[in-house]
Amino acid sequence: MLEHLINGLVLGGTYALVAMGLSLQYGIARIMNLSFGDTIIAACFATYILFSSFGINPIVALAIILPASYIVSLGVYRLMMEPLVKRAPDEGALEVDSILLTFGLLFVIQGCLLVIFGGGYISYSFMNTPVSVLGTLVSGNRLLALVLSLAIGAALVIVLYRTRWGMILRAVALAPKSAPLFGIDTDKAARMAFAIGGTMAATGGVVVSMFQTFTATTGVVFTMKALIVVILGGKGSVPGAIVAGLLLGLVETFVAAYIDPGLTLASVYTVFLLLLLVRPNGLFGKA
């Protein structure tokens, strides 16, 4: 029981972490990014290569992957998203365009990974020693993953709620039309939000790769779960993403443990649908 609880929290922690990234991209940059999960998986593969070929510890790898993913995300936004943002007559049109574009991106990333790494399951062994927590054994990498998710998530929350810069981002999320009236450069905010979102995805990838097997095609599942967490939590709500992420991780772990591992997605969807019917704007969303 306690073991499942901890595993659920670990999984939920990573969900919350990546969902915060997606929430930034969707809430502030207004880009519905369907290739989000593939960014996660690309980071998984990068960590794997760094660890198994170059012997670089995943925590050190973070220091390489994070700046790299920030730069790549920024480039993707500049090159592909910005023309769409400029051309879109309204928010609905941008939504449809961004969905289709990132959908294409999804296939390109996935295809590249498939060509390079093949379709097999990949995993590596890092800190795979059991640690005793409150009387149950938990593997060290899971514990590290939980700590990392919590630390990075907390850092983001502090930046968003305690710095001037975070306030600018939140202002754009709340009122994209009025923010420029206060001298806020919304284009710049959107660019940064997208890039930070991509960086969060990469962080999630590094963390996930430490304790889960992955394939070139798992990205879609991550996108789906991250999207569900964002919607459940309420568009653009960071506390919402955290609560919803943890909830999802727990539901998944318990369904897998007590009902059937084959029904995890079905259970996630059931939660999603039920909540949508009761609270269409998410747990922490505003009408």
């Binding site: 289709l100 574009l101 295809g111 498939l114 789906m224 569900i228």
Partner: protein, 304 residues
């Protein structure tokens, strides 16, 4: 006058297509079959997703349910009844999905349909393993390629008729209106949710039938075969390439893309998804409203 000429032309084309398998070698009948399948899927998809701008990624969920229904029932019921059952199941599923997601904003719908196929596949697999203790089923129906092709051709013709009739009816007008501005449409007296639901059900039922009719092609069916997500993606991109807002758009997109994919998957099986992705990106940037609209624009540009 113009309509009757168009009808005569369409009918002649249909007749030519119908006799084609009697002349063509078997391989080309197979190609025509697959192509007709995708033309029907793309047209049915555009019926709902075109005017409403609700991007549905659930095509294969319905397609697979159709195929699976045939696999389960083909030895129990006579074939026409099996098709009827498939249509009925598709319809009920569309009602449930539509009722729970169509009241909400388009994004929720996209996200939900994004995972629906996977959800259905997991549920069917789980059911087969834990309840019926089977994994994989055989379809024994006395059909050859051209029999299936004729059925699909008939379904394609019906789909075009439905799309044409809707385009001319007040429902077509309402659809265009709610794609523009749902609030105004609602104040004009249109039950926005009901119209969306109606179209989603019609579109999904046709898609289910395409899956059901194509089921005998496989002989052996299991969830991972009939719920292959590529079907959803290809349908979507075909409709977009041609133009989802026009009657003939999906056809114009489906025919060349089907041939292209057929060729690509033979030559470059590993690079298939990269090319598919690149095509998506290209379409979004170059012709977001489809080939037909692009041609119209170019023509107008030349005139002025």
């Amino acid at each position: 006058m113009k309509t009757s000429i168009a009808f005569a032309l369409a009918f002649t084309a249909l007749a030519l297509l119908a006799v084609a398998p009697l002349i063509l070698p078997e391989y080309w009948t197979g190609v025509l079959l697959g192509m007709t399948g995708y033309v029907t899927l793309a047209t049915a998809w555009a019926l709902f997703s075109g005017p409403t701008r609700y991007v549905s990624l659930a095509t294969v969920a319905f397609f697979g349910v159709g195929a699976y229904t045939v696999a389960v029932l083909n030895e129990v019921l006579p074939y026409p009844l099996v098709l009827l059952c498939a249509a009925g199941i598709g319809m009920i599923m569309a009602l449930v999905v539509g009722l729970s997601t169509l009241r909400l904003a388009g994004v929720y719908f996209v996200i939900f349909t994004f995972g629906l196929a996977e959800l259905v596949r997991q549920t069917v697999s789980w059911w087969e393993v834990n309840v019926t203790y089977t994994m994989g089923r055989y379809v024994f129906l006395p059909f050859e390629g051209h029999h299936i092709y004729w059925q699909l051709l008939a379904l394609a013709a019906i789909t075009f008729l439905i799309a044409w009739a809707i385009g001319r009816s007040r429902i077509g007008l309402a659809l265009k209106a709610l794609g523009d501005d749902e609030t105004v449409a609602a104040h004009a007296g249109i039950d926005v949710t009901r119209i969306k639901l109606f179209l989603f059900v019609v579109s999904s039922t046709i898609i289910t039938l395409v899956g059901a009719i194509q089921a005998p092609r496989w002989t052996y069916i299991e969830p991972s075969i009939v719920f292959n997500p590529t079907v959803s993606f290809m349908t979507l991109i075909m409709a977009l390439l041609g133009g989802a807002m026009r009657l003939w758009g999906p056809l114009v997109g489906a025919v060349p893309l089907f041939l292209l994919f057929e060729w690509l998957s033979g030559r470059f099986p590993d690079h298939f998804s990269i090319i598919l992705g690149a095509l998506f990106i290209l379409i979004v940037f170059v012709m977001p409203n489809g080939v037909l609209a692009k041609i119209d624009d170019l023509r107008k540009g030349r005139q002025s």
